[in-house]
């Protein structure tokens, strides 16, 4: 790190203390959860009487967590699989096609980020109940219902990230390829698509994680036997926090960490955000 700020020592000290406080506040809860998942005693207290990995086995044997993990994984994969292609196509059309009413369209597509999760979740719940009545089939507490709701999360993230990567691209490369005789489809496949790649990869990561971690939108749409992991964790946490729950949380933290590291090998995450 280079000189962070031109400050005399008391000021610099205060500055450093604030920076440290901010990072501590952001990271402390994450680190604490990881640490207590290893504690031997069931009632959390410091210092631990010993360390064990037994709670991870215990967590996996608890049906609500194992099934919640499975549901969340399924929902997040399907939502990303639907939302990322749709969002990518929309972002491409918005940047390149410059359609009339383009800014209204992009406001619409980014809309799901502006509406609070609990509000959107209750609206969808009411909508699903009405649709169930018309179509005479279950939608709330089904996999399709959850996936449809979560697609709503993946579209704005994809549009935002892919738009950024398209706007940062130099169009001269496309023109050069066309001038050298490449057909439009070849230009798209060999020049445009590679330029969009970092945005698309980042969109996959963010879409998956946003869906996997989502609580508010899912609260009313889950049902008996089909609960997402965050909802299962919330229900458990209303009664207690123990190493079993910490183990579930740690698995989630590690999953996010691994996904970030893998993605970072393809695109620099620090630069796409």
């Amino acid at each position: 790190m280079e000189r962070p700020l031109i400050l005399p020592s008391p000021g610099r000290l205060a500055f450093r203390a604030l920076v440290l406080a901010a990072f501590a506040l952001m990271l402390a809860p994450v680190l604490t959860v990881m640490v207590i998942s290893l504690f031997r005693q069931e009632i959390v207290s410091f210092p631990p009487s010993g360390l064990t990995l037994a709670w991870y086995v215990n967590a996996w044997e608890r049906q609500e967590f194992a099934r919640g993990f499975g549901t969340s994984l399924q929902v997040a994969l399907l939502a990303a699989a639907v939302g990322v292609p749709l969002g990518t196509a929309a972002a491409f059309a918005l940047v390149r096609g410059r359609p009339r009413g383009g800014s209204a369209l992009s406001t619409l597509l980014l809309g799901p980020l502006a509406v609070p999760g609990v509000v959107a979740g209750t609206a969808l719940y009411m909508f699903y109940l009405r649709a169930e009545f018309w179509l005479d089939r279950d939608i709330t507490s089904t996999l399709e219902g959850l996936v449809a709701a979560h697609v709503l999360l993946t579209i704005p993230w994809t549009v935002r990230l892919v738009t950024a990567s398209l706007q940062g691209m130099d169009r001269a490369a496309e023109e050069a390829a066309a001038n050298l005789g490449a057909r439009p489809l070849t230009v798209f496949r060999r020049v445009t698509l590679p330029a969009m790649r970092p945005g698309i990869i980042a969109a996959c990561l963010f879409s998956f994680i946003q869906s996997f971690e989502n609580l508010e939108l899912s609260l009313l749409l889950v049902g008996p036997g089909r609960t997402t992991l965050p909802v299962a964790m919330l229900n458990y946490l209303e009664f207690r926090v123990d190493p079993t729950l910490a183990a579930v949380a740690t698995v989630q933290i590690l999953l996010v960490g691994v996904l970030m590291l893998v993605t970072d090998r393809f695109v620099s995450i620090a630069r796409t955000v």
């Binding site: 604030l18 506040l25 994450v30 959390v44 597509l109 999760g117 509000v119 209750t122 209303e238 995450i269």
Partner: protein, 282 residues
């Protein structure tokens, strides 16, 4: 080409716009204990929410907590964002990932972390007891302070990333020029960095304020049973109260107040920025 927008646009219309319209329609209906809901066109649900002292206090708590948390996030986030923006090379990507990582780890996981930190047997009380600083565990959990700590931790990454993006765009030479001309560091901050970073301050504060207003997990888990904010109150109406019209009205009050305050907030901050720009040009 425009056809490529259609699938995504239609999906968002079907799954967000249509449900929101339906929810608004429901907020004008009447509640009936026997039939659940009676078709009507009345503002009674909105009036009840505004008149009822309980919901007024819920709204007051929500506004106070959101404002306080936003200010705290700004004060804590600015130095961290500056530090991040002025970093270079490998360390910078590492620090950015350290900010991004807690953001991507969900709210519930982080709330669990706060429960383990602040509880009676938690890390902080254990440390204080162990050092002999307190005789009995401090009641750190289930109060407004715990909720604010939880919320600030959740929103800080957004604030830091928004601010550091704009601070990065401020050329370092402007700061060096000011300090070479004899400005003290605080003056450089007040007269150069802060004015140039105002659009980021506005954008970050608005984004964070909206997130704070809609806090769910931190409020439910860290605030305890008697602490109530708007988002959990909306949810309760649908799950426990079964009063859909009233819950829908609460949802739209929350949405409306958030929208009005964010538009007003960005207008005020935006105008200050523009005024400064014209002053500088003159």
């Amino acid at each position: 080409m425009a056809a490529l927008v259609l699938p995504a646009g239609l999906l968002v219309t079907l799954l967000l716009v249509a449900p929101m319209l339906l929810l608004f329609r429901i907020s004008l209906n009447e509640y009936s204990p026997t039939e659940m809901m009676v078709e009507a066109t009345t503002a009674a649900n909105y009036l009840r929410a505004v008149a009822d002292p309980y919901y007024r206090s819920v709204l007051g708590t929500t506004l106070a907590v959101a404002t306080g948390s936003t200010l705290l996030a700004l004060v804590l986030g600015f130095p961290a964002a500056y530090w991040l923006a002025r970093m270079q090379g490998r360390w910078k990507s590492l620090a950015t990932i350290l900010v991004l990582f807690p953001l991507l780890v969900g709210n519930v996981v982080r709330a669990a972390g706060w429960l383990a930190l602040l509880g009676n047997g938690g890390a902080i009380n254990a440390a204080l007891l162990g050092l002999g600083l307190v005789a009995a565990p401090l009641p750190l959990l289930y109060n407004t302070g715990a909720v604010v700590a939880g919320i600030v931790a959740v929103v800080l990454p957004y604030m830091v990333l928004t601010l550091s993006a704009i601070i990065e765009s401020i050329p370092r030479q402007t700061e060096e020029a000011a300090s070479n001309l004899g400005a003290r560091p605080m003056t450089v901050f007040r007269r150069v960095v802060l004015p140039l970073a105002l659009p980021g301050v506005a954008a970050g504060s608005v984004l964070v304020f909206v997130l704070c207003m809609n806090t769910y997990a931190s409020a439910v888990l860290l605030g305890g049973p008697r602490f109530k904010m708007m988002a959990p109150a909306v949810y309760d109406q649908f799950v426990r109260g079964n009063n859909w019209p009233f819950g829908a009205a609460l949802a739209f009050i929350l949405l409306g107040i958030t929208l009005v305050l964010t538009v007003a907030g960005s207008a005020v901050l935006g105008r200050r920025y523009r005024r400064r720009e014209t002053e500088e040009r003159a």
